[in-house]
């Protein structure tokens, strides 16, 4: 009986060893599979081919956390068809497996858990001493406002009848144009107040010590909701749940490091979208 038990135990241990070995082999295979990221080769502060953007840094962090080698597929997000085509022609076609920035809840792709939230901001010269803290600040009616075409400020300005006097920018449609030009436009007086996405310009703010940045709060003062705070995630192809799970784990275990990278790029982090008016698929 004893012997037999011992044998059984050995067999069991051997079985465990084999299964364990199997698992090790599997994760070794996973480790050899690179983390393939689609990124814009020239869109600082997000990414560039030299790996200088915050999306590059976070991609490196994720790859390391997952024990994978980082590989890039470079493609402009700002060519004909914009970000939609960037996703369709690269991520959807399988030329890469991850895109580092997509709003949490965007139904175009499968998205990971969020890894940061930030907001649109007003930027103006400190010397102007404006009292502009929301889209309803009366002074907005008397100044020249700049905004990126087809972004939330456009709707906000339209609702208040300010769109016709505002100046359009097309940063997201022209490859190689830096978001920094938005700050230069304020500095040079082309516009008095720029309303833009903070992570696009925060990185350059130190070059413009005369400029001030104020958060645009969400509002429903016009009777209809307006959202300026967004929660961002990474995108993987629809159906690629295993990669999403792997990324979610890496995000969860590297929160402090992610936050450090974003802070290095002066991305103003805000509490995630609980304060957001809309979240996900049309639920209020």
């Amino acid at each position: 009986m004893t012997n037999r038990s011992a044998i059984s135990l050995y067999s069991l241990l051997a079985l465990v060893a084999v299964v364990g070995l199997g698992l090790t082999v599997q994760s070794a295979a996973a480790a050899e599979k690179p983390l393939r990221v689609c990124a814009d080769p020239d869109y600082m502060p997000y990414s560039d081919q030299a790996g200088q953007g915050y999306e590059n840094k976070i991609a490196e962090l994720m790859a390391k956390a997952m024990g994978r080698k980082l590989e890039y597929h470079w493609a402009s997000q700002r060519q004909e068809g914009g970000f939609g085509n960037f996703l369709a022609l690269n991520l959807d076609k399988g030329l890469c497996d991850v895109v580092m920035d997509i709003p949490y809840g965007d139904p175009e792709e499968l998205y990971t858990n969020s890894y940061y939230s930030s907001s649109y901001v007003f930027i103006y010269k400190k010397s102007k001493h404006y009292d502009i803290t929301s889209m309803d600040s009366p002074q907005l009616k008397h100044v020249k406002v700049g905004y990126e075409l087809d972004t939330p400020p456009q709707t906000g300005l339209k609702l208040r009848g300010l769109l016709n006097t505002a100046v359009q920018f097309h940063i997201a449609e022209k490859p190689h144009v830096s978001p920094k030009t938005m700050l230069e436009a304020v500095e040079r007086g082309k516009v008095d107040v720029m309303i833009t996405w903070e992570p696009a310009v925060g990185y350059y703010m130190h070059e413009f010590p005369g400029l001030k940045m104020v958060r645009v709060p969400n509002t429903r003062s016009t009777g209809s909701p307006e959202e300026y705070l967004f929660t961002m995630a990474m995108a993987v192809r629809k159906g690629d749940h295993s990669l999403k799970d792997e990324l979610d784990k890496a995000i969860a275990s590297h929160k402090a490091q992610i936050q450090q990278i974003l802070e290095d790029y002066n991305v103003k982090l805000l509490p995630s979208a609980n304060g957001s008016l809309y979240y996900g698929n049309g639920n209020m």
Partner: protein, 555 residues
Amino acid sequence: MPGGNYSVWRYSKLDQINTENVKDMHVAWTMSTGALRGHEGQPLVVGNMMYFESAYPNYVYAVDLNNIGKIVWKFEPKKDPNAPPVACCDVVNRGVAYSDGKVIADALDGKVYALNAKTGKVEWEANEADPKVGQTLTGAPLIIRDHVIVGVSGGEFGVRGYVTSYDLQTGKRQWRAYSTGPDKGMLFDPETTINGATQKPVGKDSSLKTWKGDEWKQGGGTTWGWYSYDPKLNLLYYGTGNPGTWNPSQRPGANKWSMTIEARNPDTGKAVWVYQMTPHDGWDYDGVNEMVLAEKDYHGQETPVLIHFDRNGFAYVLNRKNGKLLEAHKYDPSVNWAYKIDMKTGKPEVNPAKMTKAGVNVKDICPASEGDKDEQPTSYDPQTGLIYAPLNHICMNYQAFNVKYKAGFPFVGAIVNMFPGPGGYRGRFIAFNPMTGKTEWQIHDTFQDWGGALTTAGGVGFYGTLTGWFRAVDLKTGKILYQFHCPSGIIGNPIAYKHDGKEYVAVLTGVGGWAAIGLAQNLHKASAGLGAVGLTAELPQYTNLGGTLMVFAVK
């Protein structure tokens, strides 16, 4: 003029090409327009010259018909790079107008050019629209005596729509009538301007009362469609587009006078009557489609009527003297946003389950926002008394408030996905009796029929498909008698003309427009192009971009 006559019949009295011989039709000559994008216009033939305008960059050509292919002049307007990004639905153009030795051409960037018909030299230019504030020009002008009537595009930017009259000789602005706002700006007389629906004067502040606060300033009601004119009544007719922003929750009220048929005196601009079709629009059913003018028997009385196939799926018949509603029939049975038009109030009975609003997803709305018919003009055949209509047959899902991304900039927007209507096809070409609502015959097409129709005294009708088939059909039976596959899909409008005693049929091919926005702008995500890309995702398997003038003849 762009619509064939002031009544926009797009009917030709020529009858050399008939149901017997059209099978022998062949290509007589062709010519590249030098532009790649959507050609929604038509050539004009004046004497021995043919004039036409391409899509942006809006080349205008004068071609000598005595010397085929000879370009007498080509006009290339200055390009404004600000214009294409704000053009909602491809950088299309709908053609030129001719009068008194001048060719009048609108350019996408808002300029109106008067060109010397002999030399192509600019005689004057006017600024009708400014792309910097989201305005563009895509329509065809209409000339009434010394008035050049021009409308504006840009509803997506909350442009406050208007119509302007310029002096044919000098380009000086004669009047401008807004679609929304105070009576003065709209050229309304509260006492005498009639509301067609009620047959009573509109009263004071008829627009202001239907908007919250100052929202009329972004009221939309753009005027980018076709214009018609009744010389006897001296009335100009056109329709206005969607209210400023799609989200109806942002603009409580009927939003007058968006989505409205307007009748104005072309000498003063004064509004004689107005009839709003889609109050408080929640579907983007712009009311800008053409107003066909005809004389019809209505309860035993010959009545001057206006026939309008609206984007909302109803074919309206109004008394064009006073805007009184006479008939309103669904011309596509799949229409479900409204049950019917109440003949007493003139208002649609809206199906509340199909109304879009903040935070609510709505499925299976028919028609989709491209409408059961968009700008593609119908033709009226006085011999059969029927309207021949190239149509869409499409529905949509509306997903409220999704977050989206635009390279580096997150935003919130509704997502619209369009799909083929019941039966699985996207286009129809029909013969329709507007007085009874009866469809006499129909042809189903795979994609939207986004090109215009032509009828001829030879009993033959012509139209083109999005895949590039140019077709001749028997107007009595709908039988396809001839078809030819053109270099590109057709969203232009055929014309017939006679030269040296011989009948020709001409059409501009060059696919694009909202219908083919995915192909035109090389978009690949289904929800791009305001939801239109997924609808025609397979179109690149059938055709390609490129403007070509096609001219056909028999023998």
